[in-house]
Symmetry: C2
Subunit: 391 residues, 2 copies
């Protein structure tokens, strides 16, 4: 009977981290060993606190280090994954960072299980087919409207039919600056391009600030306005949704099923965006996909990091034919691209799919990411609880 024999975390980073909204500058990569197979995953999380939550001393019965609830557990089939997740959530209930830790482990376990069963993860999730998705190039707004125009044109020239602009100066300056940015993005993408806009929670819970931008968003025919507010601001989301011709998107901040459900039930969103590297892994993400489908909300992955994370994020909705939009990181830093030897590239029709290959279908070569590996040591009471594992 296959059991979880090892769980190793690796902290990777670019030599220099810039103070910009680019989540691909470092990575928290997870390796598991199960029944002689290796699986890989990635937490979309601050690496150091995530590693600390993996190995910290127990505080009490509802505050165990995550690794204690995972090591030696059996992994025979898909039903073991929710069981292991429930175990982690119960035993680390008061350890806030635990759900980010679990996310990468769950991904890696699905990868290992797929390799044990010689099946892609999406098939183990119950899907018969991995449907093509329309990738949108996910980039930051330029610092100025002309820069955004140039970015949009370049995206179009690369063959993308959809693009999302987010963060950067958007929402923090004048209304006019935002309107200029939106028109620049539309002009660069062309009239038939799908334009998505990501406010990056800039208005926190300030409804009037968001309302001021609705007219311009409708004028440029944006498909969605993403994260006008923080994930918890359900009432403000709902009030904005009632006034907006452009549908709202959100959910990337959800770190458990319930938070995503609250957005679907109470926030009036049209698109729920789930990061499998934050919500508790592929297992929880699939549960959200099922719920979203039942409630008529479109499921979209949130991915701003590596090809490994992209494959993991595609799995939960790979088999949903009508949920066709896929976030596709286009400006990922070298560290994110060094994790796998293969990538998920758009096909001749400009579409992407979750790989039809065992596990997550990605090949990880630690020698490739070694140049980015951070040497970490955590000691409590003279005892090393964590040292960067051998690759």
């Amino acid at each position: 009977m296959p059991r979880i024999e090892a769980v190793d975390f690796f902290y990777l980073a670019m030599p220099r981290i810039e103070d910009i909204g680019d989540g691909s500058q470092d990575a928290c990569v997870v390796r598991v060993a199960v029944g002689g197979k290796t699986g890989w995953g990635e937490c979309e999380a601050a690496p150091l606190p995530t590693i600390a939550a993996l190995v910290c001393p127990m505080s009490h019965s509802a505050c165990h280090p995550v690794i204690e609830s995972v090591l030696c557990e059996k992994l025979e089939g898909p039903a073991d994954l929710p069981r292991i997740g429930d175990r982690v959530r119960a035993r680390s209930l008061d350890l806030l960072q635990a759900e980010h830790v679990l996310s990468g482990i769950d991904m890696a376990l699905w990868d290992a299980l797929g390799r044990l069963k010689d099946a892609p993860v999406w098939r183990l999730l119950g899907y018969r087919k991995s449907w093509p998705k329309l990738p949108y190039a996910s980039v930051l707004f330029g610092d100025t409207a002309p820069e955004t125009l140039a970015k949009a044109r370049a995206i179009r020239a690369k063959g993308f039919r959809a693009a999302k602009f987010g963060w950067g100066p958007f929402g923090a300056g004048t209304l006019k600056a935002d309107v200029d940015q939106l028109h620049a993005a539309r002009e660069g993408l062309g009239r038939d391009g799908m334009l998505l806009v990501d406010a990056g929670t800039v208005w926190v819970e300030n409804l009037p600030a968001a309302e001021k931008r609705l007219k311009a968003l409708a004028a440029v025919k944006a498909t969605w306005l993403e994260e006008p507010f923080v994930s918890g601001a359900l009432a403000e989301y709902r009030a904005l949704a009632r006034k907006s011709k452009v549908r709202l998107a959100g959910g990337e901040g959800a770190h458990n099923f319930h938070m995503a459900r609250h957005m679907i039930d109470h926030a009036g969103i049209g698109f729920v965006q789930i990061d499998a590297g934050r919500i508790g892994g592929i297992t929880v993400a699939k549960r959200v996909a099922d719920y979203a489908r039942a409630k008529g909300v479109t499921y979209v992955n949130h991915t701003f990091t590596s090809p490994l994370a992209l494959s993991a994020s595609l799995q939960p909705f790979a088999g949903l034919r009508d949920h066709t939009i896929c976030e596709y990181p286009l400006e990922a830093k070298d560290v994110a691209l060094a994790i796998t030897t293969n990538r998920i590239a758009p096909d001749a029709d400009g579409e992407v799919m979750a790989p039809d290959a065992p596990g997550l279908g990605m090949t990880v070569d630690p020698a490739r990411f070694k140049p980015y590996l951070q040497d970490v040591e955590i000691k409590v009471g003279g005892k090393a609880l964590y040292r960067t594992p051998a690759i």
Copy 2:
């Protein structure tokens, strides 16, 4: 102009941590220096990941280490606290553990501000008076009903008029075992004692399991049933509230204002229980108290640790005369009692109050907690990001 000159975290722990639901076995204590004054606070959080989130390298613009957003900020008056909190939340949006880190810092900053202004924190929060509260002895269920009976009698003998029993075997075994536990607690407390029951999220989101206990809870005249489910299970809370004669309590898991608001708006609870050491500090807890009052929900502190945490947890609702119930840890471990030289003891009427003294009104003597101090070192790339500070 006073500025935040230093922020130091201390990890304290008992020599041996037991695998029981007792959150007082370790502590994450915070010391700040502001304008020549020292303030103290406590995160109700796993110490090691919390320290890691304080000092970790930046991942991107929404994933800064918490200390970077706090050091050197000005602290002239109460309005600076929400400003600093907003700054931390925006700059550490994707760092899950950040809100637990902020909680202890916010407490310590209020303590320092009170000492700078020579005023108790509750007065700085806008209250004119600190009203007496009825403390309930907060203990774990005995392993058996007779043990619970003995515990209840002992609590009554100490002069407590209210007690809460929680965790332990409750909810995880047979219905009969739970019924016996409830009747034992009631018998020990006497007919006029206030009996509170804490299920410690044992049913997660399993509505029927909780429903089975409603009859017995009503029969023993429990004042509330606390945490039948995890905080996010709003729909299950609401469904249970509709069927229950005993009112529901919950909210201790909330790590921001919005989560508490969701429970008030959507979960049908009668009591919202806020841990100032988790929700983002006294600042956010006060915001919840204001909201609860406006919505007709009773605010109650959640405190299972030290007298320092108890004082901090009393401040946000000290001035609410009609919100009279106060959680009072009765089985706190030595480490929790070593943090302060004074305590908040019930008066002749068996009531407690937030101290009428500058800041949190508690005296911290690091020499007292030194025996419990854990020696911690966190290194990344050969550089020590954290070493246990000098006391």
